[in-house]
Symmetry: C2
Subunit: 432 residues, 2 copies
């Protein structure tokens, strides 16, 4: 299937194809219809993986796919593939997709947009009677969010062989119900072995979930990589003491040292623009009493960057900071790496296809990275992959107030359409 | 009673009196005997106020007092007064004392030392057949620690009129049992109205509960003041966002701003030596998730100093810091003062009496302040007052590993003896 990687299809010279556009209103209406399933009073969606609501959402999408003449395949982890045949149906399909499960306080667009943008591409091609050389598919991946069952990105992870089907099946929610049982209960255990399904190339449209596009006033983010990350737990141990009787010079204040390190985490990230990121999200102070100098502070450190080399330099800087603080304060400082994901550069041909589609369509666009994980990260292990970002309001996601503009969603869908067509090759028009 | 304040008695010229010393071994043995009641496996003491163990401790001390020929009076909040008559028994008594309740993970010395040092003074005077002009008393104050019932320093607070007897009676522990009921249950509701009991002067011996004396290698701390304090809650509100997709420049990181303020709290205290103290003891981060930039951080600020003017300047500096951070970050910062205690300077005559006694006895001594509250703070509202500090190991208190050296405890007790004699005036010797 990698032959395709080396033979990108330029945007066709056929003016009818060049002028092809999705139906933004239909896309929006589909998004709003799906968002009613699990709708929350605050305008968000709570549709956790493998619940009755998830089944209703899947049934709605599968019903729409069948109405559009697509063939539906479900695999054993519940991933769904909605297929539009190609002229040469033996070619690996050009796939798009995302997920329709949500966070407990999720929004209408995260994941759902990627699936329904794919469906809208299919509907548009049907309406125009376009035939492609390679088949096209829309995938919906099981339990991307990981809110109910860990690990996250479960369906695409099993599909890509990141972990086993049995490992995923054994995962349980807080009430002890397993993925295996819940998947069977909602009727979404398919026949196909996950991964036993060729993919020619993969494109995923998604709201940005960050503020960059909105801040820059740009419509399309051409995603060329997903940032790598290192997660650490840092513990500073001093000596707790009464805040009253202990003069400043005789203190071994764990929080004073810890806050110095926390400030430096920001400084390190600032030294590696534009993609260096440093976050302290979690802090535990012991004994956490108003009039006791803290004896111990544990906090998380999250470092991200776009290349492994930059991430290593950030880690080296962190170690240097800790050495300085150890020397200056005499306190014990423990740093433990608790998780690490390598940066994921996307395929240059797929990235170019997205960029060229956006240019041809006349949308403002900029290169972008994804700071968060997506199903596309696992797909990139299997096939040439890239993503298309559109702005979301104030960069907010995983929140019931998540919002996006119809015209941006439509634009991203048009880019998806033309990027997929470029890879699948238009070979003609069917009679309507 | 204030006439006494202006007529301190210099150390007597009588060489027998000058050479009078307490029995350090007897003091130590009494401390160890009392520490058996509520002893913990780690070598500490858990003897919470108004428990059966508190009753056993009170009974032991009262029994020792009666053996020493002292008259025992209990007031209605359970404060005990162990009285040695003076030649002029109508004079207000020179009082010493402290408390015998402990923290849940308390030590052998906090409070207990002050009561048993007073008892040792009485025993020593008995042994030497000394008669004083004014009567002498040892007080034990109910529920100084406040671990089981709030407010802290309850017995001395009611005695000094800081709050009412009914307010104290109504306090309940976590199981809903009231001070009124528990005090009756252990048999320590006396007849006397709290405060209806003159005090000529008050001295309290105590372990330092801080590291200054040990660090300086000094035996006696001449306590001339108790630090005032201001307690604040500070809340910084930014915007929570995903740590991955949000570039550094577009963040509204509440923790980044908060840690900057926390560092400045230390810097403010460092600008007002030697008694300026600044502590952040308690931190709450929201949502406190590893990969979410904190949207809100609330933390406590504890500022202390020896004068109201210095404390006001520290507060002004804090406001200036917050203004700077508001301007630099654009984040909302709320500061609320939740508690305030004015500094408490001790009586110069009483402080001099302690200093002169230490000098006459040849002990190394230094002026000291108390950073923590003591019953003496309330007594200072009623009578000339000061305190005597002795070192404790590593400055540790409110901990089962609290420790102090017998020779330091003996030294502090000798200082107490001579300071009290200076105020009560020796008038002769009784036949033994």
């Amino acid at each position: 299937m990698n032959a395709r990687e080396n033979s990108p299809q330029p945007t066709t010279a056929d003016p009818t194809i060049r002028q092809l556009r999705v139906d933004g209103r239909r896309l929006w209406n589909s998004l709003m219809a799906l968002a009613k399933i699990g709708a929350t009073p605050k305008g968000g969606v709570c549709r956790l993986a493998l619940t009755d609501l998830d089944r209703q959402g899947r049934d709605l999408v599968v019903g729409w796919a069948r109405e559009a003449g697509l063939t539906v395949t479900i695999d054993r982890i519940g991933n769904g593939f909605l297929r539009r045949a190609g002229r040469n149906d033996a070619l690996p399909p050009i796939v798009t997709g995302s997920h329709i499960d949500t966070q407990p306080t999720g929004g209408k667009f995260d994941g759902n947009y990627g699936v329904l943008a794919g469906l809208e591409v299919m509907r548009t091609l049907n309406d125009a009677g376009i035939e492609t050389e390679a088949p096209l598919e829309v995938a919906f991946w099981t339990n991307e969010e990981g809110s109910r069952f860990v690990p996250v990105m479960m369906g695409s992870g099993v599909f890509a062989g990141a972990f086993s089907l049995d490992h995923a099946y054994a995962a349980t929610d807080v009430e002890g119900r397993s993925v295996r049982d819940e998947l069977a209960r909602i009727g979404y255990v398919g026949d196909q072995t996950p991964g036993d399904h060729p993919i020619g190339a993969y494109f995923e449209a998604h709201i940005e979930q960050g503020p960059v596009l909105e801040d820059a006033g740009v419509t399309i983010g051409v995603v060329d990589a997903v940032l790598g990350l290192n997660w650490y737990d840092c513990t500073v141990t001093g000596m707790e003491a009464h805040a009253g009787p202990t003069p400043m010079a005789l203190r071994r204040d764990a929080l004073q040292a810890a806050t110095g390190i926390m400030q430096q985490v920001i400084a390190i990230a600032d030294r590696y623009p534009p993609y260096g990121r440093g976050t302290v999200g979690m802090v535990q102070v012991f004994p956490n009493s108003r009039n006791v100098i803290p004896g111990q502070v544990t906090f998380s450190i999250d470092l991200r960057n776009v290349s492994g080399e930059l991430l290593e330099r950030m880690e080296a800087d962190l170690h240097a900071v800790l050495d300085d603080v150890r020397r200056d304060t005499g306190l014990a400082i423990d740093l433990r790496k608790v998780s690490s994901f390598a940066p994921c550069p996307f395929d240059v041909t797929c990235v170019s296809a997205v960029r060229q589609a956006a240019q041809a369509l006349g949308y403002s666009q900029m290169d972008a990275v994804s700071g968060a994980g997506h199903d596309a990260v696992y797909m990139a292990r299997l096939a040439p992959t890239s993503m298309i970002f559109v702005p979301c309001k104030d960069g907010i996601s995983h929140n019931e107030i998540e919002d996006a503009k119809p015209e941006h969603l439509e634009a991203g869908c048009n880019v998806l359409l033309h990027a997929m067509l470029g890879h699948a090759k238009v070979v003609g028009r069917r009679d309507r």
